[in-house]
Symmetry: C2
Subunit: 109 residues, 2 copies
């Protein structure tokens, strides 16, 4: 994976898909935090919210790793989670799409 | 401070004042978290909320230390912050009240 070349078009497609999926996930995180906060009635739920946010932040940091050596696996995971569609990635070379297709099916299995 | 004796009455007064101040501070923390969360429009504010909660939790843990060897200093700090009134502590021995009075004035100075 490290030796794959990325054309300018592919980089643009990758950046757009990555940013869009990340933004969508951040928006979901904001929404879930607002809902949790609105329901807090007891201090323990305050620290649950803190813990929830910490886990979310670590998970998002871990998942959204924009290094070309990692990007195909990132996209495979996003496709597997239903956060990205293979159709979104059109413009990438066939070998990259095939990697993502195969690995998103493997992780789902 | 470690050698002071605490009567049952003093322990009861201390426990009531401690719990009430802690509960009040937790309620304020819940309120501030709800207000921060409701205003979140951008992911950076989500992580600011996380950071705010972490700091709050550490500060509250640090401040509310119910060991008899620490309690007079805890009450001095609470009086200094306006979270507790000397009148709330009536029932405690004069030497304890005097310690709290002096130390709450010192920390305020």
């Amino acid at each position: 994976m490290r030796e794959l070349k990325w054309s300018s078009t592919e980089k643009a497609v990758a950046r757009r898909c990555f940013d869009r999926a990340l933004q969508r996930e951040l928006n979901e995180a904001i929404q879930s935090a607002k809902e949790m906060a609105a329901k807090i009635g007891h201090a323990s739920e305050l620290w649950e919210l803190e813990h929830h946010l910490t886990e979310l932040r670590k998970e998002i940091d871990r998942k959204y790793d924009y290094r070309y050596s990692r990007l195909l696996q990132v996209f495979s995971d996003l496709v597997q989670e239903g956060r990205l569609d293979l159709a979104d990635l059109l413009g990438m070379s066939e070998d990259k799409l095939q990697y993502i297709r195969q690995h998103s099916e493997q992780s789902a299995a």
